[in-house]
Amino acid sequence: MKNSKNKKIAINIENASKRYFLRSAKAKKKETFFALKDINIKIFKGEKVAILGDNGAGKTTLLKVMTGIAEPTCGKVNSIGKLVSLIDITAGFHPEFSGRENIYFNGILLGMNLSSIKKLEQEIINFSGIEKFIDQALYTYSSGMVLRLGFSIAIHSDPDILILDEEVVVGDQDFQKKAYDEIEKIFAEGKTIVVCSHVLPLLSRLCERFIWLDKGKVKMDGGKEVVIEYKKNRSKLDIEKIGKIKNEKKFFQFLQSLPIGERFIVEAVSGSMEPLILKGDEVRVERCSLKNIRVGNIIAYWSDEFKNIIVHRIYKKSSKGIFLTRGDSNYIVDEMPVTEDIFLGKVINF
């Protein structure tokens, strides 16, 4: 930050705010939430900047705004140079392409040219450690494998500005070490780097400037003194939170990630005539593929409208997908399509 007049700007954020609307089914009104409030940050070429802050402080939103993944609601954000972000490294992948094809597809999206991708192809594959699977379709990969490939491509794309989020260093311990070594190499190369992490010892060693975000605002911006203040502030750790199943989409998505054949129980939240389910009834569900469902089967699926898991019988299959009636006596809707993204499983206790 010293002698900033002589330095070239890499990222310039002026009066940027990011507003989200929180919708609540109960309140039936939308609440406004500012993830970022009136942010002014200039990041200079070659600077290594760490963003600090607790969960929900706006760190990831700030990085997303910097990279252009999210637009600020108001204010301006400009960046100069090739910017590569390791925020969502799986973005820009095609599930039906092979790993090798995705190196080209993703590499081009990251601004690499064909000849440099060709030159680096083997290096990218070797680094990712998934040589055996590189010609298999991406949808056959585990999420860890996709992340490793994404990390490998991004790190080889020679960015001017690198933006890293805290969850990017993935995989087993060997891969994590390789990834950290590679990040350290980039740090040594004099490129502009913005990182956001809770791994304070690593950051304080590698970064020279620290921006502390608190509730969407810049609380402190400066050198290592920011880390000292920040540490003092968060000496109390919140460990005890343990939550139970709620009618939240994240829990539905968790249940949807259960392997085929796994069984679980959901509780009926309202009565239904078809099939007859009473409020409080326990409904047993088995994970299966939507392809194995037939007309007459009772299934469980997520309803965005009711923010809940709904249980119903399939009554018709069309060329577009599977349809069912909503047998609720006081809420009659003709047909409700069920697709893989909302499908949960087959009900097995009826």
């Binding site: 809770h198 304070l200 460990i239 005890e240 343990i242 199943i245 968790f254 249940l255």
Partner: protein, 90 residues
């Protein structure tokens, strides 16, 4: 003798946004662990003592008060035992 703890490795769990979700044995409750709870869960893949967990948290969150962390870990372990997602090994 030192008391050790280990997570129930038969339970299905998944990490979402740095937080771990665990499907309990009764298959009708999902336990959501916060960031630090998730760190403990990962560490409990193999048996660990409370002191080892405290050490692990202190190294990940430099500057945290060790006494407070120990108290928090003990409370957390008790809750996990009550929820039957971890086991005590004597």
């Amino acid at each position: 003798m030192k008391i050790l703890y280990i997570r129930d490795n038969d339970l299905y769990f998944k990490e979402e946004d740095g937080k771990i979700l665990v499907l309990k044995k009764n298959k009708k409750e999902i336990v959501e662990l916060n960031e630090v709870g998730s760190l403990i869960w990962k560490a409990l893949k193999t048996k660990k003592s409370i002191d080892a967990l405290v050490k692990k948290i202190n190294s990940a969150f430099e500057g945290a008060d060790s006494k407070e962390v120990k108290k928090d870990v003990e409370e957390f372990i008790l809750k996990c035992l009550k929820d039957s997602i971890i086991e005590k090994i004597n």
